[in-house]
Subunit: 119 residues, 2 copies
């Protein structure tokens, strides 16, 4: 696996993302998240993801996490290459469908953009 | 104003909420958040709201914050009674419309429910 990017003390990026639950898959998504595989959480932690929470409202999922590395895209790509994470995503992926615009370029989580922060 | 509720060391509640931008009000909402009034942020801080971020995707706003008091509803009610906050909300309210279901019981932010967390 790729080595995690360096971490700069005190540097935190805040991220939010959103996705809809696929019809009929709500129960399966929740069941999976009762026991997220330890290899999956270990990969997240290794690559700088912390304080990660998933919320639900209606049939929409909201994710918030903080990233403490120096290259978010590179570390996310490394997580996606983790073999156990790939198996995990093969189970969670079918539970999801894109939020909002039908022409969204992704079939999964879409990143939101930060507009304001209060420490 | 009501006194803030007590704080228990190390106790944090994570909250996410969602609301849509009203048609034509996107620019006004962003303009307001370039300089959120200091009295508004002071009230949030006083009543235990911390690490508060607002994100946007398409015409949907996502809020995430952490709450360090002991009675979230009571502290939110106290914030809503702050006179300057009420003036602020009279400006931001018309920028928003409920997310999702038309029968939503609120005309503003709707709370999401936490389903998973990784520290």
């Amino acid at each position: 696996m790729t080595a995690p990017t360096p971490r700069l003390p005190g540097q935190v990026e805040r991220h939010a993302a959103i996705v809809d639950l696929a019809p009929g898959m709500r129960r399966e998504y929740f069941r999976l998240h009762e026991h997220v595989w330890p290899e999956v959480t270990a990969a997240l932690t290794q690559y700088g993801i912390t304080n990660y929470t998933i919320f639900v409202i209606d049939d929409t999922l909201i994710a918030y996490y903080e990233y403490v590395g120096t290259d978010h895209a590179a570390d996310l790509a490394a997580i996606d290459q983790d073999p156990v994470t790939q198996r995990w995503l093969s189970l969670t992926g079918p539970c999801q469908r894109p939020f909002g615009r039908a022409d969204a370029a992704t079939d999964g989580w879409r990143d939101a953009r930060e507009i304001w922060h209060l420490a």
